[in-house]
């Protein structure tokens, strides 16, 4: 069974440009999450989809970030325009069951974003 896949694995862009990251969750997982790790700091929650609906987007840093999950399958995270502080690794994770204390998330390998 395929795990969570993310694309691209690494993106290098200039400040002010746009980047779109894609995540394909494990098939059948309704819950999809975006997290990011910036500058070697802790991994921080960005948002949570249940199918195509945003369940919690409290971690989105500002309106330069737009996440979508049309059709409830794969998700995209767009950064427009990118700033230097957006550099980091963006992780996607999925889970089958929603709810606290329900077990682990399955993480992708991450998309590393470098903004120059």
């Amino acid at each position: 069974e395929a795990g969570v896949t993310q694309f691209p694995s690494h993106s290098v862009i200039e400040k002010g440009q746009t980047v779109t990251l894609r995540c394909d969750p494990i098939s059948g997982h309704d819950n999809l999450y975006w997290y990011r790790r910036v500058m070697g700091k802790e991994i921080k929650f960005l948002l949570h989809f249940v199918k195509e609906s945003k369940q919690d987007e409290s971690g989105m840093p500002n309106n330069r970030f737009l996440a979508e999950r049309t059709g409830g399958t794969y998700s995209t995270l767009k950064v427009q325009p990118a700033e230097l502080e957006d550099s980091g690794v963006y992780f996607c994770a999925s889970s089958q069951v929603q709810g606290a204390n329900t077990g682990e998330l399955f993480f992708g390998e991450g998309s590393r974003l470098t903004v120059l």
């Binding site: 999450y33 991994i43 369940q55 709810g99 682990e104 998330l105």
Partner: protein, 114 residues
């Protein structure tokens, strides 16, 4: 070898020794805790979890201890192997509202020396 919270982000141990990685959490309402292992170039991988109604849980070569009184979590790895070299993150779920919104610690780099 033993690390102390987030102030010692690197832990070096000899192969075969036991490793202890510590984590302090801040929210007394947290009711679920997980340890993740992240190898270079990969995403975090689940190791073991523990609910707040427990104080110890054992897996294969790993044990998680939870001390709610002092809000402290530790991961013990027995007979540490080179393949255990990675960054280890503790994470807490602050409960309520559903979903698996996790709050991660900054991580501890474990280096296994031959």
């Amino acid at each position: 070898g033993e690390s102390v919270g987030l102030h010692l982000p690197t832990l070096s141990v000899q192969e075969g020794d036991n490793s202890i990685i510590n984590c302090a959490y801040s929210n007394s309402a947290s009711d679920y805790f997980i340890w993740y292992k992240q190898e270079s170039g990969k995403g975090p991988q689940f190791i073991i979890d523990i609910r707040s109604n427990m104080d110890k849980r054992q897996g294969q070569r790993v044990t998680v201890l939870l001390n709610k009184t002092v809000k402290h979590l530790s991961l013990q790895i027995a007979a540490t192997q080179p393949g255990d070299s990675a960054v280890y993150f503790c994470a807490e779920n602050r409960g309520g509202g559903g979903g698996n919104k996790l709050t991660f610690g900054t991580g501890t780099q474990l280096k296994v020396e031959l």
